[in-house]
Amino acid sequence: MQQEAAIREPLILGNKSYKDITDDVVGPIQGAAPMGWKVMITISSIIAFYGVGCILYLIGTGIGVWGLNKTVGWAWDITNFVWWVGIGHAGTLISAVLLLFRQKWRMAINRSAEAMTIFAVIMAAVFPGIHMGRIWVSYWVLPLPNQFGSLWVNFNSPLLWDVFAISTYFSVSLVFWYIGLIPDFATIRDRMTKPLQKKIYSVLSFGWSGRAKHWTRFEEVSLVLAGIATPLVFSVHSIVSMDFATSVIPGWHTTIFPPYFVSGAVFSGFAMVQTLLLIMRKTMKLEAYIHTKHVEYMNIVIIVTGSIVGVAYLTELFISWYSGVEYESYAFINRFSGPYSASYWAMMTCNVISPQLFWFKKIRRSLVATFALSIVVNIGMWFERYVIIVTSLHRDFDPSSWGEFHATSIDVGIFIGTLGIFFTLFLLFARFFPVLALNELKSILKSSGEEHKRVQSEGKSNH
């Protein structure tokens, strides 16, 4: 077994045995649903249904129910899309990149982070679908053989690249997540007493038996998938950013977008993981597994990515001036001084200034402060996309077409609705799925557990 320095902070607190871990994770699935869960899922599903209603109204009536117009052809729809895709990034980064770097602290959070990824990507995928004027022919974006005189898609279009990027990303994330779940499903299966539940979990666990051969294959597949998923972390948001970067619109047409979008995505993704986990550890009593150290690690990622994003913002401003291009420089002056400057300054405050607070150890290790700031960061990142999309479009080249965008209740309703759907899915996940990668956690109990470390430091190594 791998050894770890005793002075390193333990990752699993308390004197946990392997059985304790199983009990802590599987126990809630076996038991009755707690009251708090019932209340939360009721609220979130009501919001989800409202959102679905808004979506149906949109599809039934026309895109005109949104506040879009001849000048601003995208606003909340694509803002939400990019925001949700960005949120998804943390899950893949945690499970794939950190796996490759052998970061053990990821084990406590990767499962729910991946679940978040899956649900966020589902929410993200809603928007490119419903933002189409004719969603009923949306399958035309797929390069399918057809009889329309064999019409092909336009491979020049970044929107088409999006289709491939998002669908690849979604399928790889889903498979990766599911592979990780298999041994844990098997553990649940083995503990279930009711026949139906046992049956369901045995189907879900794909006949996992825990043999060494299974574990070897599991490890290999995980590594391979991590290898596949890692480039996706960078490609997906790069491609999303090309929706803007390859256009001619001042404020969109910039080469900085791919790295800027990727770091922004990781930034917002980690913030969302913080938001979700801080609630979950409390309500599901997982304090021993997800604790200050994990939060601190994630906050460090937030400082780093937040600072990259900040540098990107400043670079954009500098380049807009340095380029000497009238339209480009006006686009940025308009961003921070025009009609939508409030959004710009909200973005700047939330994304650049607020994460810098994490330089203070006290704040970085404070769960309350982290929770508050994680929400601030998510608000900031939503505004970032809104600023990029709306302020660039509303005043572009020809001043006669300069316009305004005002959101309607349907714009807001659908966004809130996707939050409702997302939380409903996440709550269902928390209720029926193992929220921690319990079998992986067991692998570090003997190296990073608090009790183990105490014993180790007392010189009574059990080796």
């Binding site: 004027g133 035309w140 279009s157 390859t246 001084s337 080249f397 020809d398 006669s400 005002h406």
Partner: protein
């Protein structure tokens, strides 16, 4: 006998053949081999098992269900007997003449399958050029609110019953009056004379918008009560004293074309236009100098001009700036001499007489203005009308026949007219609609729409213009002449009557034999022997009284000018949704009238000066004498401080009159709004009533009014909210005539006012031995994408728009609207910036600020940009028609995921509606924002039920069958009228000849009265549009984006006087 009848179904039965009898005896002719079939064991071995059956069934059900989801199929019924002249799919054109009491011109009417769908210029044999009102009038033909039968006391009746009632009505003893607009038709005059002879009916003419003072001034000076015909093509200097002759004043349909002839800088000279006005008019926006004056000062400006030119009269008091402008204008007029012209717009005898004196002193009579002996347009007589209203109120009028006018709406004393009408024994109106006047008359005898009937009209002394029906009358209507003759007791059908007017010997037998007549119908006019005319002789009296009068005019804190808007005119087409939605060329506001005010006045009153989607206008109350009107206030650059402007022609149908669904306001759901009493709410407010309340102020102005804020707000729907072009001179390029002439020999791209935009390259391309900022390559030479192979191969459609000639009149906007079935989306959608116009006219005001001035005054970049957003107080204006630029490197084409928008091999950026999935990425990536998205199902969604023509069962007949009506969720935009280019190519192919330049024009180019738009094949080296590419004024908008458009602009040249 009947028993002997035998019915038989075949010869076999009749002959009773054995075979027949055998079959007849068996009820079931043959054993059905059901058992054999079922017991056939091959069935068991057949491949189609139960599961296959279920699969097939599943497939069939799904296929049937999917098939049922298709768009409903609209069935068309073929002709049983095809009319000889109609070939489905082929348009017929008929020469006709349009006259609505104001605009008078020759037109061609395009009909498809017997339906008139488009009105265009008759450039071959006709005079005049269509404007937006004429263009869009074809929509009125199909208005379902039109009267569909004669009415008596509100009930539909028959013509014979109506005629009997009129005969009884005309037998009264009081004054009997035929009240019409200006009558231009010889037949109508003959009918009026017949009625006068038989029933003693006198004929009075009144115009909706009175030009009485002009004719009165001519009568005073020359003894001829005639509206002069102005000849702007002969003018070198024009001074407009509040005369919007390019938009609404006088015979604009003639003036625009004439005026533009002298505005071509390539000729080496241009006419110069000086405007003095209070509200920014279309003419003012095109003037070379524009001076802000108050209505009460107009007379003094005229007097000062007269004094400067002739030395006549005493000095008048005017602002220094105004006086300076007067001096400049006077100098130009003096220089032009007989080629100078002063036109005054106010219906004010004093100003008109001074203007007439200036023109006479310049020697303009005979060159820039002609005064015929016979009266032409605008013969309305305000005095006769006032007397009639007085007599009506006194109960002295026993019968009133109203034709072509709507005095209950637009009379100076409409309230008096309405009160008087109740005392008239019998009244009848021939209006198309049960409008404000007709609905108050005893009877309604609706006449034909101008596209349904024959008519003869005379304005010229060498020809009689003919109007011919382009469709059978849709409803049970009757031509006015026919009605009048019936009432005169000499019933005759309108056509025979018309023919007899021009050939007394005409009989029905000669209907097709008169070749002169047939040629006349074909050409749209009959040539007649011109009468000998004598030149007008000045007999005028002394001007001193008039000069004293204008010198003594005093204005109050605020003065009011009642003007007209280009699209709405006098309001007779208020129910026409396309005109309501046509943005005013100056304010860019649709669907409303409002009070135009100077920004300084609005700021002083604390009114909102930023009107946009969610920023409604502040409502103000304007008190004029004992009347008041509440309207939103609109900040109008160029408005004289201390003046207000209100457009006439709005507020039609204040009493639920059936004048068309589109004349009333709708709520967000599309239903008509109703006020507390359940009355429909008209669009805008009627300002005609204010004319009567001006307390003796002549004309359409009031010199002392007050305005107060009400504290309420009202949304206005504007299509443009940014009014300056922010110093972006790659969008708009302009120069002065002097600047142009100084470099008129420069090659395209070299002149200082039209320099090719270069981009720096990292290469020593200028050969100076070093790589530095001087190494620039023209923006058009950069090529990221491979070239579309359009140059020199086949056709390559292109367009050039001369910003110097474009006056912003919006005839192209309506022409495009009708030609391309562009939906009307209503005020609420326009307010949300969702107007669908494929062709729009951008109106830019100059700002007093630029980056240089900001730097000089020490302002930062941000503050300077803020200042540049503000138009100047009296700004210069540019009208820039903007539609899809058909870029050869189109940003929209690369981003469409499904290749729904592509480049044709004729250089046209084409939109495949069927393929579009509606991502709107193309619209976002369009630098000109010309793409229009179908936000809703415009032809079916309730929100548009009350104005979109496609939603009205009758009005949808106006849709162009060559252009598809787009469905919800797809993008649309200018196609360069691809239906026309394709049609022309087919014609050329059939004729076996190459396509001739000029044989195909887009709707906008065809409609343009000033010929600012040139369209043609760029690959045709002899084409006109190709020639413009060598013109040194030609540029592509936003050239540096590298999009290489097929639409070009020609630098605007102003004939600004030297400072």
């Amino acid at each position: 006998m009947a028993d002997n009848k035998i019915y038989w179904s075949g010869l076999e039965e009749l002959d009773r053949t054995p075979e027949f009898e055998r079959i007849e005896s068996q009820e079931f002719p043959a054993e059905r081999p059901v058992d054999a079939f079922l017991s056939d064991d091959r069935l068991q071995r057949a491949n189609t098992g139960r599961r296959d059956f279920l699969k097939f069934m599943g497939f069939s059900v799904t296929a049937a269900t999917l098939a049922a989801c298709e768009t409903p199929v609209v069935k068309s019924i073929p002709y049983t007997n095809k009319p000889e002249e109609i070939t489905p799919g082929v348009a017929n054109y008929y020469a006709s003449t349009y006259y609505d009491g104001h605009d008078f011109l020759n037109v061609l009417v395009k009909t498809r399958e017997g339906r008139p769908i488009f009105v265009k210029n008759n450039t071959e044999t006709g005079y005049g050029r269509v404007n937006a009102r004429v263009n869009a009038s074809v929509l009125g033909l199909y208005d379902s609110a039109r009267l569909q039968a004669p009415h008596l006391k509100g009930e539909a009746t028959t013509w014979s019953a109506l005629d009997a009632a009129v005969a009884k009505g005309l037998s009264g003893s009081g004054r009997k009056v035929l009240l019409t607009g200006t009558v231009m038709s010889p037949s109508m005059k003959r009918a009026a004379a017949a009625l006068a002879a038989s029933a003693g009916v006198e004929h009075i003419q009144c115009d909706a918008v009175s030009y009485s003072a002009v004719s009165d001034a001519m009568e005073a000076d020359y003894g001829r009560r005639t509206f002069p015909s102005y000849r702007f093509e002969n003018a070198e200097a024009v001074v407009s004293l509040n005369a919007d002759f390019l938009g609404t004043w006088g015979d604009t349909v003639w003036y625009t074309e004439q005026w533009a002839k002298n505005r071509r800088p390539e000729n080496g000279s241009m006419s110069r236009l000086h405007a003095f006005e209070s509200v920014m008019s279309l003419t003012g926006s095109n003037a070379d100098t524009r001076t802000r004056v108050k209505p009460s000062e107009q007379g003094r400006v005229a007097a000062a001009l007269l004094r400067e030119i002739t030395g006549q009269g005493a000095a008048v008091s005017l602002d220094e700036a105004v006086m300076a402008a007067v001096k400049v204008a006077a100098a130009d007029l003096k220089k032009a001499g007989a080629k100078g012209l002063v036109v005054a717009g106010d219906n004010d005898l004093a100003t008109q007489r001074i203007a007439s004196a200036i023109n006479r002193n310049l020697g303009a009579m005979g060159t820039t203005m002609v005064l015929h002996e016979q009266p032409g347009l605008h013969q309305g007589d305000d005095k006769a009308m006032a007397q009639l209203v007085a007599d009506m109120k006194a109960g002295k009028v026993s019968a009133l026949i109203v034709d072509g006018v709507n005095p209950a709406y637009h009379a100076a004393d409409a309230e008096g007219f309405k009160a008087g009408l109740e005392k008239v024994g019998f009244s009848v109106s021939t209006a198309l609609f049960a409008d404000e006047t007709a609905s108050r008359c005893t009877a309604m005898a609706p006449t034909h729409h101008w596209l349904e009937g024959w008519n003869d009209l005379q304005i010229d002394f060498e020809r009689i213009e003919l109007a011919q029906p382009a469709i059978q009358p849709l409803y049970n209507t009757r031509q006015t002449t026919e009605s009048l003759m019936a009432w005169a007791g000499q019933p005759v059908d309108a056509y025979t009557f018309l023919r007899q007017t021009h050939n007394a010997a005409y009989t029905a037998a000669a209907v097709n034999t008169d070749q002169d007549w047939n040629a006349g119908v074909h050409n749209g006019y009959l040539a007649v022997t011109p009468q000998e005319e004598t030149d007008p002789v000045f007999t005028g009296a002394d001007l001193s009284g008039v000069l004293r009068e204008v010198a003594g005019r005093k204005g109050g804190a605020f003065e009011l000018d009642l003007y007209r808007k280009v699209a709405m005119g006098d309001g007779q087409q208020a129910g026409n949704p396309m005109l309501q939605e046509t943005p005013d060329p100056i304010t860019k506001t649709t669907w409303d009238n409002y009070v135009t005010m100077a920004r300084v006045d609005m700021e002083a009153m604390g009114l909102n000066t930023y009107i946009a989607q969610e920023d409604p206008a502040s409502v103000v109350k304007v008190n004029v004498g004992d009347k008041s009107i509440e309207l939103p206030a609109f900040p109008q650059p160029g408005q004289t401080p201390g003046t207000l402007g209100i457009a006439l022609g709005y507020g039609r149908g204040g009493n639920n009159e059936a004048i068309g669904k589109a004349a009333y306001q709708v709520g967000e759901g599309g239903d008509h709004l109703a006020d507390a009493e359940g009355n429909l709410v008209p669009i805008g407010k009627n300002a005609f009533g204010l004319i009567a309340a001006t307390n003796g102020t002549p004309g359409r102005a009031a010199y002392d009014v007050s305005v107060v804020a009400t504290g309420e707000t009202y949304p206005l729907a504007c299509t443009q909210i940014q009014h300056t072009y922010m110093g972006r001179d790659s969008v708009v390029k302009e120069t002065t005539l002097d600047g142009y002439l100084a470099e008129s020999g420069a090659k395209r791209g070299d002149a200082s006012w039209n320099k090719t935009i270069g981009l720096n390259v990292h290469d020593d391309i200028n050969g100076d031995g070093e790589i530095n900022a001087l190494d620039k390559k023209a923006a058009g030479e950069f090529d990221l994408w491979h070239e579309h192979a359009v140059d020199g191969v086949g056709h390559r459609w292109g367009m050039a728009i001369d910003l110097t000639s474009c006056i912003g009149c919006s005839a192209c906007v309506t022409a495009c609207h009708i030609e391309n079935n562009v939906p009307v989306v209503g005020k609420d959608e326009v307010r949300r910036h969702r107007d669908m116009h494929w062709m729009r006219i951008d109106r830019f005001y100059a700002s007093d600020w630029d980056m240089e001035r900001g730097g000089e005054e020490g302002l930062g970049v941000i503050s300077t940009y803020g200042k540049m957003e503000e138009p100047g107080a009296n700004p210069q204006t540019v009208h820039m028609p903007m539609m899809c630029q058909h870029c050869n490197h189109a940003p929209c084409e690369t981003v469409c995921p499904v290749a729904a928008t592509t480049h044709s091999n004729e250089g046209v950026n084409q939109m495949t509606y069927n393929r579009c999935i509606g991502t709107r990425y193309c619209a976002n990536n369009c630098p000109f924002k010309v793409r229009r998205f179908n936000w809703f199902h415009y032809p079916g969604y309730d929100k548009f039920q009350n104005f979109n023509p496609a939603q009205d069962a009758i009005q949808r007949m106006v849709l162009n069958p060559d252009v598809v009506v787009r469905s919800r969720g797809v993008m649309e935009k200018c196609s360069l009228c691809v239906q026309r280019t394709q049609g022309a190519k087919l014609e050329a192919k059939k004729a076996g000849k190459p396509l001739e330049d000029g044989s195909v024009l887009t709707a906008c180019a065809e409609a343009c009265p000033t010929q600012a738009i040139t369209f043609g094949d760029l690959n045709d080296t002899s084409s006109e549009v190709r020639a413009t590419y060598d013109n040194n004024r030609t540029y592509h908008a936003l050239e540096e984006v590298g999009i290489q458009p097929n639409v070009a602009y020609l630098t605007k040249v102003r004939n600004t006087p030297k400072a």
